[in-house]
Amino acid sequence: MNVIKIIFKNSIRMITLLIAVAIASFILVTSSPIDPVQSYVREGVAVSAEQREEIANYWGLYNSPIERFENWGKNILNGDMGTSLIYRKPVSEVIGEKFQSSIILMSISWIISGILGFVLGVIMGVFESSKIDKFIRNICFIISSTPSFWIGMMFLIIFSVKLGWFPIGFSVPIGVSSDNITFSQKLYHAILPAITLSFSSFSNIALHTRAKITEIMKSNYILFAKARGESLFNIIKRHVLRNALIPAVTLQFASISEIFGGSILAEQVFSYPGLGQTAVDAGLRGDIPLLLGIALISSIFVFLGNIIANILYAVLDPKIREGAKYSE
């Protein structure tokens, strides 16, 4: 019962937030002084007044902002996000296409950073203030202070340029028709960007997990487990992991936002044609419908992550699940 209530409450919240995101993004992009027509046809290319008129009319640039928002909102609800100016295709189609390559990247690194972060966090937390803890902690601190795109550049220089182990960029081999691309080829091209992307979030996960584990290790129930003669291995297996799991899961789903943001940079460095690079293109070239579409999709993604985290929390925590005498 409780779980259903939580799902309901979260969904309502997500819908209000999404509407707010839609309105805010719309206001932001439409108030831009950047002339969409000019940036569409690229600087330096002369546009005749007639052509300009035609394009502007086509996008409804002369209507009032409220009318335009109304229009756009109505279309969105019907699943029509407009037409991309760069690709001259429906935005939903472009996003769908790009999302497919991005999702490989994001899910690989989401899993890598989650597992790596958790394992390192557990090691640090269990052996708190030992040499190994200090060593890993310093590394995590430095990595969290390093821009992920720079790590990507260093990977490119070392592994692609110097050693030649990996391709310089792109999600697929160049000059191979899309039907002939195998999954392993896609994976091969996604490895470096995915590792780069993992770097943007694993250290945070590790540091947070460490904090949680040290707290657990200091608890009375661990002390009692020790007094009962349980081995360290057993204590970790029976108690530490169990208690660290809930916060770890929450953290993992909350990291979706970070992964999404990081993917934009990683894709840019590796010229990986995913959603992130498309967002940058849309922003630089003034493709308003596409930019809006990506902003919306990305926040749906983030909110879904949050909702899943909240639901899992409710399902995993017996206090909420069993619902007995629980007050905040």
Binding site: F224, G229, R242, K325
Partner: protein
């Protein structure tokens, strides 16, 4: 057999390293020169007011003190030194502790399964029998600690010692928070353990209840034991007790006048020479500022740490 105590503690001191103002490191002695003997088939009640470091004593025996603690003195089990390695192998098997509250149970594990030390059939049966004995219904196995009442948690904690056949059981504050009836019932469980031939050490500030079930009472004050005496002496009367503090405790009991003990317990930050009870003692004299000898009672039932002897 009676001559060799199951647990014998001599001159135990526990010191913690603490950072003071600036960067001066200071050592604070929470337990000093503590002596204790626990025999087979007996309940030894270690009584003293709250915050006097009694739980640390239990943790020291179990070898679960925090890392910044240093222990000196000796703890012997069955006549031989209880080294760190030895307690590692013995704890949870031959020496068991019953902690004081529900916070010692893993909040995310069903109580039944965490009472079981290993996940096998014999442990399961032992758990189920223990639950039955302590009036915990079968349903209680499947509940989480937060669904337990204080009394239930206490009984579940007690049932953990039935997983093995320990010869020493240390109970840390088993009665506070329980109503009188429950408290007596709990003490009865410990009496049963002792009658089955185990050595039971109960650490408590509930002197009233403790003296009714224990064989011996050890009076704990300011980090050390001032007197160990037969529990019956507490019932017989003030003149059977030796140390001024023990007498004061006796007089503070509700049935004996409820007289409060004046003054405060010394803090572990204060460094003491001589008798630790000096400040509050009615019969103090200059000699009390020197080293205080331990006088053992002739019948071997205990000792007193006071220059006036017994």
């Amino acid at each position: 057999m009676k001559n060799i105590p199951e647990i014998e503690i001599e001159n135990l001191s526990i010191t913690f390293k603490i950072y003071e103002k600036g960067l001066i490191q200071k050592n604070i002695k929470t337990i000093s020169n503590l002596c204790l003997k626990a025999y087979k088939g007996e309940i030894l009640a270690v009584v003293g007011s709250s915050g006097s470091g009694k739980s640390l004593l239990a943790h020291a025996i179990m070898g679960i003190l925090p890392k910044n603690a240093t222990v000196t003195g000796s703890i012997k089990y069955k006549g031989s030194e209880l080294t760190e390695k030895r307690i590692h192998n013995l704890r949870g098997k031959e020496i068991c502790i019953i902690p004081q509250s529900v916070s010692y149970l893993d909040p995310l594990m069903k109580v039944g399964s965490q009472v079981m030390i290993k996940n096998n059939k014999s442990c399961f049966e032992k758990m189920r029998n223990a639950f039955k004995r302590y009036d915990l219904c079968e349903n209680a196995e499947k509940l989480y600690p937060f669904q337990y009442s204080g009394g239930m948690a206490r009984r579940a904690l007690i049932s953990t010692v039935e997983q093995t056949e320990p010869s020493v059981i240390i109970a840390d504050e088993p009665t506070p928070g329980l109503d009188k009836q429950m408290a007596y019932k709990t003490m009865k469980y410990f009496r049963d353990f002792a009658d089955k031939g185990k050595a039971v050490i109960i650490i408590t500030h509930d002197i009233d209840i403790a003296v009714q079930y224990a064989d011996k009472v050890s009076v704990f004050y300011g980090g050390t034991t001032l007197e160990t005496t037969k529990a019956e002496n507490f019932i017989k009367g003030e003149k059977y007790l030796c140390h001024p503090y023990t007498k004061a405790l006796y007089n503070a009991l509700p049935q004996n006048g409820f007289k409060p003990v004046e003054g405060f317990q010394p803090s572990p930050y204060d460094v003491f020479e001589g008798c630790i009870y000096y400040d509050r003692c009615d019969i103090r004299c200059e000699k009390c500022k020197e080293n205080i000898p331990i006088y053992n009672f002739p019948d071997g039932s205990g000792f007193v740490r006071c220059i006036n002897g017994y």
